[in-house]
């Protein structure tokens, strides 16, 4: 047990070193940051514009009002982009680490290789989006007249963390295919398209897709269920209850898949 704690401390120390180093070198690439952050904020604006235009034609979508939709978008957005800050780097595993041989270097160190991939880059250009989505939550919540109590806040906090792990697990699962295909770029492209599903109540989709959204691409746990619970919407009660706990489970599954990929990499040496 003591050894495990010692190892954890070591990982924390190393991550911290990586982090400040990253921050220092970050100052060199200021333009990239500004451009990247701006592009992403613009895409968020376009997304909101779409919603606004749609709601010039209707009053509610599947029983969700405009502000409730904003809340949903904001919640899911906060979860995914907060996760991006720390876990996004995995999507480059094919192009950056496997093809260029850096993965070999990671395997030579007495350190978990997945940890090294995550630690290697912090995607802080997502921070503006996290802030914007949080603002959306507060704005929408205020418009709806939400009065947060302790239960709601606790639930929100836990389900956000769980949601982050869920999102991380999706990225990890899809990116790990790079061990077989040599590229993670395509799997990631699919995730980006799929992640748009998080902005809508899942009961607008056919059952088969709803099934997908709680298993292979469990985005429902990152946005719809928690938002639905907080807003007091009816339906999916059991799902909403387990939401704060599913994160670690999904991440564990994705992690096993990653290890499978890693052992395949070690035997084929691609």
């Amino acid at each position: 047990m003591r050894e495990k704690v010692g190892t954890m401390k070591k990982y924390v120390r190393i991550y911290y070193l990586y982090f400040i180093q990253y921050m220092k070198s970050r100052l060199i690439y200021k333009t990239d940051f500004v451009l990247g952050a701006t592009a992403q904020l613009i895409s968020m604006v376009v997304s909101l514009a779409f919603l606004t235009l749609v709601f010039t034609q209707i009053e509610s979508l599947q029983g969700w009002t405009f502000n409730e939709m904003l809340f949903l978008a904001g919640f899911g957005g906060t979860v995914i982009f907060a996760q991006n800050v720390f876990f996004f780097n995995i999507i480059r595993v094919g192009e950056e680490y496997i093809i260029k041989g850096k993965m070999d270097r990671f395997l030579l160190r007495p350190l978990n290789p997945l940890f090294q991939v995550y630690a290697d880059d912090v995607h802080d250009n997502n921070i503006p989006k996290v802030i914007a989505n949080l603002a959306l939550i507060f704005y929408a919540g205020y418009q709806i007249g939400l009065t947060p109590d302790l239960l709601m806040i606790t639930y929100a906090a836990f389900s956000m963390v769980s949601g982050m792990l869920v999102a991380a697990s999706i990225y990890l699962l899809f990116s790990s295919t790079a061990f077989w295909t040599g590229t993670s770029r395509n799997a990631v492209w699919l995730i980006f398209r799929l992640s748009n599903f998080r902005k809508y109540p899942i009961d607008i989709f056919a059952l088969a897709i709803q099934g997908l959204l709680v298993t292979l691409v469990p985005l429902a746990f990152a946005s719809f269920f928690p938002a639905s619970f907080i807003l007091g919407k009816e339906g999916f009660e059991a799902w909403k209850l387990i939401t704060p706990f599913v994160g670690p489970v999904f991440f564990y599954i994705a992690y096993r898949f990653w290890k499978l990929g890693l052992s395949n990499y070690s035997s084929t040496g691609s």
Binding site: P110, S266, S267
Partner: protein, 326 residues
């Protein structure tokens, strides 16, 4: 008890082919052809602690594959492999603490960070304590002189500077074994010497086992007494460098003479006479005739304008060993 042991080690790869032309492209969408490559076959290897061996062979001979298996990156197809009593692939992390690796061009330093920050990270990762760390950096600095660019980001260093850092980084945690893959490639003579001095020092003073893969015959002559030769995945020689060179070396006399078309000699020890663009190449076995004797005979009969004696390169020795076997 050997530190590194490999018994009947095998590694086979599948290479898939792409297909050419429109038909080939379309076909490869459905099913791809592959061929099997035996990168390493039946390798037997034993290395004791404190040894420094040269591991040589032409490109594609299986050297990096062997090193990748010994360092745990690659899993063998079959056979036994043991490093310090452990299977390096299965106990990857525990094995990793004991080893240092320099992989030619692939760096272990952080590209955008100053050298000293890279070392700080490595210190943390390999759990080197403060005192030992300071001592060793100073020690390394004496031979490698890395303090000159300590504060500079790695990407701004010249090849020679980077390589010196790589070596320091590999030895920082005083691992039991260090694997060096082409550590002197592309460097000038002065830097090469400094690097060789450093490696020798580490091996002799700290008893660190070194496995050196290189094409540079200077490296080998300077550092290794024992060499292992690999060709097409199989070990074809394992022993002292001197023996190998003595047994399989031939020297070449390259010269320009006044009337090359008249050249015709019959001297014992000359194995071949080649005609080249510039002149003539006389291949001879120096155990049968010395260079000076040969020259004397030729000078007697012909007008020599220019000449040069060429030493055999490793590739030639390897090729020769392969062709003639052991």
């Amino acid at each position: 008890m050997s530190l590194i042991k490999a018994e009947n080690l095998d590694k086979t790869f599948r290479i898939y082919s792409q297909g050419s032309g429109i038909k080939g492209y379309l076909k490869s969408f459905v099913k791809r052809d592959y061929e099997e490559i035996h990168a390493v076959e039946g390798l037997e290897l034993e290395i004791d602690e404190g040894e420094m061996i040269g591991y040589i062979g032409s490109n594609g001979a299986g050297k990096s594959t062997t090193v990748k298996m010994l360092t745990g990156i690659l899993e063998p197809s079959s056979g036994l492999i043991e490093v310090d009593g452990r299977n390096p692939h299965r106990e990857r992390k525990k094995n990793a603490v004991n080893i240092g690796v320099v992989f030619g061009q692939k760096t272990q330093l952080w590209w955008d960070l100053p050298v000293k920050e890279s070392f700080k990270l490595l210190k943390e990762i390999y759990e080197v304590d403060e005192e030992a760390y300071d001592e060793r950096i100073e020690e390394f600095d004496e031979v490698l002189q890395i303090s000159e660019f300590w504060e500079q980001p790695v990407r701004k260093l010249s090849l020679g500077q980077k390589m010196r850092c790589e070596l320091a980084a590999a030895f920082l945690h005083h691992p039991k074994i260090v694997y060096l893959d082409e550590p002197t490639i592309g460097l000038d003579v002065a830097v090469k010497e400094r690097i060789r001095d450093f490696i020798r020092k580490m091996n002799e003073e700290k008893n660190i086992t070194v496995m050196l893969t290189t094409h540079d015959i200077g490296d080998i002559e300077d550092l290794c007494e024992r060499i292992v030769v690999l060709d097409e995945g199989k070990k074809i020689y394992d022993g002292a460098l001197d023996d190998l060179v003595n047994r399989f070396s031939s020297r070449r006399l390259v010269m320009e003479i006044k009337r090359p078309e008249d050249f015709d000699i019959d001297i014992d020890g000359v194995t071949e006479v080649k005609r080249t663009d510039g002149g003539l190449e006389v291949v001879f076995d120096r155990t049968e005739i010395s260079a000076s004797d040969l020259m004397r005979e030729i000078l007697d009969d012909y007008e020599v304008l220019d000449f040069q004696i060429k030493e055999p390169d490793i590739e030639e020795v390897v090729k020769k060993v392969y062709n003639e076997g052991i």
